[in-house]
């Protein structure tokens, strides 16, 4: 592949991203409007009288034909207008804007911890094959991946928050905290104190994948001829491990990180609920429970777009980091 081939690859992936986002938003539109039963019941309280209901339908544009609704919906989306919350009477985009930073911080912190831990332990296991450590570590890594993440959260909550009292049991800041802006909150010790438990839960849940992946790719790379050659060259163990083995083994792990970032933003739903962490996932759950349909739709679209974007980033990151893809042959 040549240099321009790589640019083509980027263009193609971005094109596919746009296509995916379009399809996902369309699916969302259909999902929310074509479900069996009267779609309006999903978010209109039956206690409304007929007149209020009509007025509401009209205010949401639901009295128009479906195709027209679709164009209005798409037009609004393109302008970043996701409608107004039914319960809270504020723009959905504002609610999402408040929640997204919390989710991103939670995800970034736990994913970074999980990958740092997984990469180091995975590499260590690859070097020390056989024996008790491996026999214990691999089932342990598999086990944490198998446990429901909300249950891990419940165990930590019961142990560390309720029994030992080391951490608060939920929320992002103490109730009645004077800190109002997001910036102020993030810089406060209180915020990080609240972040610790949900982040620890997610870290526990997420570390299994990078650990097993790192171990597997490291084992593969260590068997490669260029590692044997590095030993023959008399290079130091440090050079062999860091410059050759780790750098090659990290390629798939970096990709998995980007994928994990996208998947976590949506997957945090349960952990955010357990710890009452005010993120996008919890917003979605509350909206669905309260039949706040514009918020549910907006949160779902946001989560899907983040996921699709990170999938694309992962694809491109791999291509960019691997010269076999990004730098073409000369002939």
């Amino acid at each position: 592949m040549s240099r321009s081939g790589f640019l083509w690859l980027i263009a193609e992936r971005l094109g596919f991203l746009v296509l995916t986002v379009w399809i996902v938003t369309t699916i969302t539109f259909l999902l929310f409007r074509l479900m069996p039963g009267d779609p309006t019941l999903a978010y209109l309280s039956p206690t409304f009288n007929e007149e209020t209901r009509r007025a509401l339908l009209a205010s949401f544009g639901l009295d128009k034909p479906l195709w027209l609704q679709y164009f209005i919906y798409m037009g609004n989306l393109l302008q970043g207008d996701l409608g107004t919350s039914f319960l809270q009477r504020v723009p959905v985009s504002q609610l999402l804007g408040d929640a997204l930073p919390n989710t991103v911080i939670l995800t970034l912190v736990s994913l970074t911890c999980a990958y740092a831990f997984g990469i180091i332990v995975g590499a260590f296991l690859a070097f020390h094959r056989g024996g008790g450590v491996e026999a214990a570590a691999i089932p342990a890594a598999l086990a944490t991946r198998s446990a429901p993440e909300f249950w891990l959260g419940m165990l930590l909550l019961a142990g560390l928050a309720f029994q030992l009292g080391w951490f608060p049991s939920g929320g992002a800041v103490d109730p009645g905290s004077p800190l109002s802006t997001f910036g102020q909150r993030v810089l406060s010790e209180d915020f990080w104190h609240h972040l610790a438990l949900p982040a620890l839960t997610l870290t526990l849940y997420l570390q299994g994948l990078p650990l097993l992946l790192m171990r597997a790719t490291m084992l593969e790379v260590l068997g490669d001829e260029f590692i044997v050659m590095a030993r023959m060259k008399g290079l130091s163990r440090w050079s062999i491990v860091m410059r050759h083995a780790a750098r090659n083994a990290l390629l798939p792990v970096v990709t998995a990180f980007a994928l994990g970032l996208g998947a976590s933003v949506g997957g945090n739903v349960v952990v955010e609920t357990v710890f009452a962490w005010p993120g996008v996932g919890r917003l979605l759950v509350q909206a669905v429970q309260g039949a706040d349909y514009p918020v549910a739709q907006g949160a779902f679209i946001l989560i899907s777009v983040v996921l699709a974007t990170m999938n694309t980033v992962a694809d491109l990151a791999y291509a960019f980091l691997d010269p076999r893809v990004s730098v073409g042959a000369r002939r």
Binding site: F16, T20, I23, V24, I27, T28, L31, F32, M35, P36, A42, P139, L142, A143, R145, S146, A147, P148, F150, W151, L152, M154, L155, L157, A158, A161, F162, Q163, S169, A216, L219, E220, G223, A263, V265, G266, G267, V269, V270, T273, V274, G281, L284, V285, V288, Q289, A291, A296, A299, F300, I303, S304, L307, A308, N311
Partner: protein
Amino acid sequence: MRVVRSIWRYLRGEPFAAVGVSVYALILMVALFADRLAPHNPREILRAGRRVARYLPMSPEHWLGTTSSGRDVLSQLIFGTRSALQVGLTAALAVVAIGTMLGLLSGYLGGWIDKLITRLADIVLGLPFLPFLLVLAALTRPGTNTVVIAVALLLWPNTARVIRSQVLSLRERAWVEAARVTGCSTARIMFVHILPQVLPLAALYGSVAIGWAILAEASASFLGFGDPETISWGVMLQEAYANQALGRGAWNWFAPPGLAIMSMVLAGFMISRGSEKLLFPKLADK
């Protein structure tokens, strides 16, 4: 008899898979004999004297204590195997059926069908699983069916991809070519000649899907979108969380259902890990 012996030999050679199979077998037995194994009716509100027997700790009478509404935890745990198996097996079957079918069509027919299915798979993999499940649960009647449908709709691409690549290599084999030359119909080649070859691989992906479905059901129940009428591990955890079991330190209530889910999902992972060596001997050398 030979089959039994070869399965036995395989399990002895693959301790991981052997553990996984034993866990599944154990859970199957518990589910079958739940009526006799459970010391109480899982829905029965137990009484101590005239009062409801709430939050009892572990004791010889109630091995795992009781819930906030005075129900026996162990009995609920035992009956939970039924719902777990039901959700897990139906969802896995659906995933395998859809995935295998689409993988087979895509790999064997190629052309625009292949392109379409591959693109579809890419898009489906771009949908967030739990949020999708939530939205689906919100818009239909909550319950286990929704979980099964969501798992089937979103998890088939993994199976389809693997089956597709397997079919791509199978279709070039001499005996498939021979069948083509002798005038076998396309459908016959696909379903009579190729399908049986890819079934073991499909079953492997099915064993992981069982675990995914159980986790999905637990998460959905925990978030309040399960079927409150069924007794499942997810519903147990939701009840425990909602009724302050954590604050009371009622480990006997909220720890066991999670352990049960974990061991069942882990069993699926272990079976698939063990079988990888059987199905892809080359991988085992690594």
